[in-house]
Symmetry: C2
Subunit: 207 residues, 2 copies
DNA sequence: GACAATACCAAGCAAGCGCTTGGTTTGTAA
DNA sequence: TTACAAACCAAGCGCTTGCTTGGTATTGTC
């Protein structure tokens, strides 16, 4: 299943909002604003203005400002978990599975869902503890994908370091690309960047 | 020169505030609060209460709340640049220099200056653009330390990936440890963690 | 012991915040 | 046409925010 199909499937299951609908458009604008200005500095008036309604009207769709932040995070994780799962299944060797994961995460961070992924990383503390717990459970599925692949590589001695540590290091390293990676100017493509990450981990770049 | 001596030297040059003084104590508490609650969620009343004065009295020491954030960042960079410089000079081979840098950065993030380093990473956007520019200039010195060492390793073919990319990946990976690394419970020491990072990069762990 | 300079307090202002309220428009289906 | 819910507006409430102001202790210096 390709990327648009996966998105479509999630929309029809009501797990992700349709980007064309009112709710989806708001979440997209919210992600952009939260990334650019931070959650706290973004006012409900900013959010409302971004989709062309009055600030009070927001509360017809969401009970609170925090619920908007949570929705951004939850829907992003749902989408990216599905995309990652597909990417892993398509690859055949453990090394190619790892490459697929790295590539997919780089894409989620620097591509279409980039704004929302940045929010997930940098606005985490703005979530209430109750919401944090909910979101963390969703992340577990996502993370187990990584740990399975890294664990297999470790067994085959293709990895010198501990899988848990490597995953956490990669989380930081890949997330951080959002602060500096600009594919448009400078030449390094997403595939090129993926190669660099694999090379850093000691895996040869395929010809 | 050891760590306390370096700190003392910076204090006497007025580049870093004495932690025992009023200003230094405030900056320390500010770093802690900013890390725990975020800059925006921390009020000047919180800051004042943490050092036992009235909120208005803060503005005798700092012109604005943002100036406090900036001071936290500037002083942290000054201190850690000095510590890194010393660490690199002491090591003799390029590989050992890299290890010294990794170890020093992990220590700065997870040790005494950890609160302030976390602020530097996560509250960056809360700085005004003018302040960001100032702080960025200070970071350049710091970063050139890394690029020199990584560049040398690259020339000696001990590094497969591009030094600029590796440094940026390491920035993310090492910063991110602040979100998960808890030395007290779990066993992995700072040296052990440093070994893991080096292993991940394909460098053998010294016996 | 006089006298600045420094450090602080008590009170509060103006602006901006998230959110509520009561009422109006719009879409949908019988 | 009627009925009704969903979507939205206009206005503003109550509270918190960063910061100011005018005055009072505290400290260091000769």
């Amino acid at each position: 299943m390709n990327q648009p199909d996966i998105l479509q499937a999630l929309i029809s299951e009501n797990l992700v909002s349709d980007p064309a609908g009112a709710r989806g458009r708001l979440l997209h604008e919210a992600a952009r604003l939260f990334r650019d200005k931070g959650y706290e500095r973004t006012t409900v008036r900013d959010l409302a203005a971004a989709v062309g309604i009055q600030s009070g009207s927001l509360f017809h769709h969401f009970r609170s400002k925090e619920e908007i932040l949570k929705a951004v995070m939850v829907e992003t994780i749902r989408l990216n978990t599905a995309l990652m799962q597909a990417a892993v299944e398509e690859a055949e060797t453990p090394e190619r599975k790892l490459r697929a994961l790295v590539r997919a995460e780089l894409e989620s961070i620097n591509g279409q869902t980039g704004e929302a992924m940045a929010v997930l990383v940098f606005e985490w503390r703005s979530l209430s503890e109750a919401s944090q717990k909910e979101v963390l459970e969703l992340r577990d599925i996502y993370e187990s994908l990584w740990l399975d692949v890294l664990g297999t590589l470790r067994e085959h001695s293709n990895l010198q370091a501990d899988p848990f540590v490597v995953r956490r290091m990669l989380t930081g390293a890949l997330s951080w690309t959002v602060t500096w990676y600009r594919p448009e100017r400078g030449g390094l493509s997403l595939d090129g960047l993926t190669d660099q990450v694999m090379a850093m981990l000691g895996f040869a770049v395929p010809a």
